[in-house]
Amino acid sequence: MVMACRVMNKRRHMGLQQLSSFAETGRTFLGPVKSSKFITDEECHESVLVSSTVRLLESLEMTSATGQLLNEAVQAQNDTYRTGATTLLFLAGAWSSAVEECLHLGVPIAIIVSVMSEALNSCSEEVVSLQVPVHNIFDHMGSTKAISELETVSVSLCPFLQDPSGASSVQEEHDHRDGVPQLTTYNLSRRPVKSPKFFQPDAKIEAGENTSQTLKNSLHTDTFRKSIFIHSRHFNRTDNNQGIHKPDRFQEQRGATTFQTYRCDDLAELAVGLSHGDHSSMKLVEEAVRLQYQNACMQQGNCGVPFVFDISRLFTCTLPGLPETFSCVCPGYIMLVSISCAALIKELQNQPIRVVLIEGDLTESYRHLGFNKSTNIKTVLDSVKLQEDSSEELWANHVLQLLIQFNVNLILVKGNVSEHLTEKCMHSKRLVVGSVNGHVIQAFAEATGAVQVAYITQVNEDCVGNGISVAFWRKPLDVVDRNNRIPVLLKTERINLITAVLASPVSAQMQTKEDRFWTCAYRIYHALKEEKVFLGGSAVEFLCLSHLQILAEQPLQKGDRACLGWLRDTSSWLASSLAIYRPTVLKCLANGWYKYLSVLLYNTASYSSELEASTFIQHHLQNAIGSGSPSSYILKEYSKLASGIFNSSISNKLEQFPRVYDVVTPKIEAWRRALDLVLLVLQTDSEIITGLGHVQINSQKLEGFLFL
């Protein structure tokens, strides 16, 4: 076996070039307005509609080593956090161009690596100032009455016509706020929410909160109005009039108050802030969190234990081909069963039934994992007696007998189910459901006291769960999906499962809709878990940009230990020449942020060209650096900045917009992963192809290969 070895960077670094061109494909996914892509296979003429980085990379076949590393990094980010993949992809691209620029300018690799890596650390420390604590979200919800069965909030908004600022919700809110601050419902459907009571307690709190602020600022009523209604059209008018002529006191006051009010203790506000334009999905997630909270309260009585949002108890049920109005969140587990079971479900309705949970398959031939079946065992018949039934028939009869003995009417199976048995059970009014998610089975085990078993023969009285109710999710035969399946709701009194039903009239969008729902769910999950969020709308990235610019202009003190620490190998000559190259590298890294921001701005359709977007950034960048402290500049000017980034396209329609938030750790980890990937590729100087792969390198390409 021979092995080939290729030197990667003869003049320009191939790996870095590949990275930046791969990243280019995900450019349009950045920001709240995402353009979908069609990926077509020229050979079999199949096409896929993708609108997220993860799905895009899944559909692309990236055979090159760098492509695979990129894919690996994006997958790892997605598996761990379920968000931040697009940021990772874009920054990986932007920074590989930045690194190429450094190489072009003759900066030694070791210096690029250490300066960039430490600069990103410094950025991560700097952006802590933009963190917003998320506390006591659930303190105000204790009084909320439990909502009755099936009372759900419907949401109807086409997912592909997302409005980045939450136009519809804000419109309504705006109407309310014109008067006294009162009931705030971020209601997305144009028709009223089924249960307005549901939102009542929050509204009260918000009102109460505002009152306290009124007290705080009672001396400056105008200022108060400003800090709250920054984007109300009245405010804008006054700002134009007063702000220019006598800006001093008011400006300062506003800056101070805005500074203090950055905290988030309302779930609705958090949800809107983290929705990033996808309000319909986020609405569902918010409902799911509320439902789970109420569930937890009911089970624990007085909510003594702090509530933790358990995302593993949240499920989706997709109904492709059905109108958007069916989308909702329900307590319990909704699954799709064949329409032929309709009669059986009708029978089982309105009575508590008993359940058995099976960990593996429910077939005659199934054996538990790790069991090796011997193939060479033969059974001989002693006497000539004709066997009437096959062994499967015997087995099915045995199972059925057991089910009758323990009076079990529902069998949830993690694996596959023998069709023969399913039919047999149906005749005796027992429902067998296969391919049930392990978490669902676990939740039913907890709620009903059932014990999961591997074989049905293990079942004894202790393993059977009690008190499950089965019902049609909607009126029978109202909802039938394309595969002739109907949604069925499983519930028990103590179940903490929540199912989000996602419907989409366009089947091709189903996957996208589901992905977006989960992205929103995980954003809320991380925010609640970490109890903090970032001020969003690119404030964080902007701070990094200005921070790096400032760092680049600061001269290095010779012999400064902290600076020497920037280099891995402090003894090398590189340490002494660090000061010369450092500003260049920092500026290149900052350029990556710059590119990120301008593409984001351009993508939100606020600006007709990237150049225009770039001018906007440049303007604020100069101000931020000039102010001496970029972080306080951002806090002060946040609403203006964010409106420039997120809102300007519709700002003439709506002067008001809710705050935008970002998740903390997933974001920072995405940056880190992006830079790690770029630096890993940068430090790679050759590609070694092992095994027989070299055979496929054709003779024209042989130049540049060395053989071992």
């Binding site: 070895c5 430490e118 790790g370 750790t665 070694i688």
Partner: protein, 538 residues
């Protein structure tokens, strides 16, 4: 059956394998690959099969040599001996390989006969080894376990030399401390001779942040959430009586070999085996065992039986954990389903459940903790695979060229081989200087060499012991220099006095380096001595 016989092909025989151009070329390619990987700013290599297989990014000799599929026997000798060295010392692999390549290459340039060079090499090797072992050697730093900064430096030096780990300074510090703590935990409290070190088990946790890594005394066994829920139902008591099975309890029959087993109708083998398992369970229950650990699978029915009798049953522990588990509990692994002698039971102090990332663990807390679990997190697979632990007690050698530079002065014939090795630490086109007092390694930017005031340009020598304030004379490495005797190192006390400088020292393990030196020279001698290669073509 008809079998086809083929006449054997005649074997091929090459003489003087080293003289052929092809061998020289491949040797120099290999050397190029290895040299560019060396040191903290070494370049990485992407290893893959060119057909969409997994990509491995590395600069470690162990990974590199494992994946290189070399064909020529000479290269095979070289890689195998380096791999052997690495498997024993897990350090200094690249040093060994590069030195060996350099020796072969340089000897070929001289006109000396093979036997003479081999004799000379051996002689010089002994000379070097003696010097490095002697007290006069300026590179040695004694190590004792009360001086943790030095030990930390060693760990940090090793971690820093692996750029593919993608660790930041903070992360390196964190991991270094963890590795050291894990190592110190393996030293038993009562120091009887001979000291038997415990074991650190690395538990992978990919996708998490590096700083989430941690060290826990005892053994962590990964279990599924479902299994953990069942375990939590069992009443807790401590200490627990433990039994450890290495045989499968899954209820299948041991392989009957070739041929068929004939069973008469009405006899169910599976049930018979299950009955046997349940009987075993009964014995365990009557012996008051509270924890059953099995390397392989336990039959679900047996598990159910044990759980209903308040016995915790954990299966699929894996072969890697068997030795530590046996060490921790004192239980003898049981390999058959027959009756169990009471002597094979062990005991454990306590247990608890733990969750890291999305994984659930059963945490076994032993009576005496010489076994610990190092939970190692990293963002990506690539970086995780690169992150490995290296622990080796004993004396430490200063590194980063300083040793090589010194050696070079002692052994004239070795000169260029060691010299270019020290030179290969530089990947960015800088120049290397050597001082005339201690013989240490200094790095400087390439350019006009007319600079007189070197003290201003240089700050610290490669290993971080000396700073440029001292009156030292410098000369370029590779230029002709007058032989001198390197001054003995600073007195022992100074290591303890200056923790500041200790923080930035670069250290190497002495035993690993010595062995590396030895392996390199001996392998080079062996390769030089090769006269014929005989290849069996059939």
């Amino acid at each position: 059956m008809l079998s086809r016989l083929e006449a054997k092909k005649p074997s091929l025989c090459y003489s003087e394998p080293l003289t052929t151009e092809k061998v020289r070329a491949t040797l120099s390619v290999l050397k190029g690959i290895l040299t560019s990987c060396y040191g903290p700013s070494g370049r990485l290599k992407q290893l893959h099969n060119g057909m969409g297989g997994a990509v491995c990014t590395t600069s470690q000799s162990a990974v590199l040599l494992r994946n290189l599929s070399v064909t020529h026997p000479i290269l095979k000798i070289l890689t195998t001996s380096v791999q052997n060295h690495v498997s024993c010392f897990s350090d200094c692999g690249l040093f060994t390989a590069i030195l060996c390549c350099n020796l072969i290459e340089n000897v070929q340039k001289t006109d000396l006969t093979v036997t003479t060079t081999i004799k000379l090499n051996t002689h010089l090797l002994n000379f070097c080894t003696n010097y490095l072992r002697s007290e006069v050697c300026g590179c040695r730093i004694p190590v004792d376990f009360s001086n943790t900064p030095i030990l930390l430096c060693l760990v940090r030096s090793i971690l820093t030399s692996k750029p593919a780990c993608m660790l930041t300074r903070k992360e390196i510090d964190h991991i270094s401390v963890l590795i050291l703590r894990a190592f110190l935990l393996t030293i038993p409290e009562n120091t009887e001779d001979p000291i038997i070190l415990g074991k650190s088990i690395i538990v992978p946790l990919k996708g998490q942040r590096v700083t989430d890594s941690t060290v826990l005394p005892g053994v962590l066994i990964e279990v599924s959430e479902v299994q953990l829920m069942k375990i939590l139902l069992v009443r807790k008591s401590s200490p627990l009586k433990v039994v450890l099975f290495s045989t499968s309890l899954s209820g299948d029959f041991s392989d009957p070999g070739e041929g068929n087993v004939v069973v008469s109708d009405g006899v169910f083998l599976e049930n018979a085996v299950l009955d046997q398992l349940i009987n075993l369970g009964r014995q365990l229950v009557s012996d008051r065992v509270e924890l059953v650990l099995c390397q392989k699978v336990i039959h679900p029915s047996l598990k159910q039986f044990l759980t209903t009798h308040q016995v915790i049953a954990i299966d699929r522990v894996g072969v890697m954990l068997m030795e530590p588990l046996s060490k921790v509990t004192g239980a003898q692994p049981i390999g058959s389903l027959g009756s169990i002698s009471p002597g094979s039971y062990g005991s454990v102090k306590d247990w608890c459940s733990a969750k890291f990332g999305c994984k659930h663990f059963f945490h076994l807390i032993p009576n005496e903790a010489t076994v610990s679990s190092l939970l190692l997190c990293n963002r990506s697979d690539t970086a995780w695979d690169e992150l490995k632990t290296y622990e080796e007690p004993g004396s430490i050698l200063q590194d980063d060229g300083c040793t090589q530079a010194e050696l070079q002065l002692i052994a004239e014939a070795f000169c260029s081989a060691l010299e270019s090795l020290a030179g290969s630490l530089e990947h960015d086109g800088g120049e290397i200087l050597i001082d005339m007092k201690y013989g240490h390694f200094w790095s400087i930017q390439a350019g006009p060499s007319s600079v007189v005031n070197w003290t201003d340009l240089l700050s610290r020598c490669g290993c971080g012991v000396y700073s440029s304030q001292e009156e030292l004379g410098w000369s370029f490495l590779r230029s002709t220099c007058h032989p001198f005797v390197p001054q003995t190192c600073l007195p022992h006390e100074s290591w303890e006095v200056s923790p500041q400088s200790a923080h930035s020292l670069t250290l190497d393990c002495l035993t690993a380096k010595l062995s590396g030196l030895q392996v390199a020279v001996e392998t080079a001698n062996l390769i030089l001595d090769l006269a014929y290669v005989i290849e069996d073509k059939s």
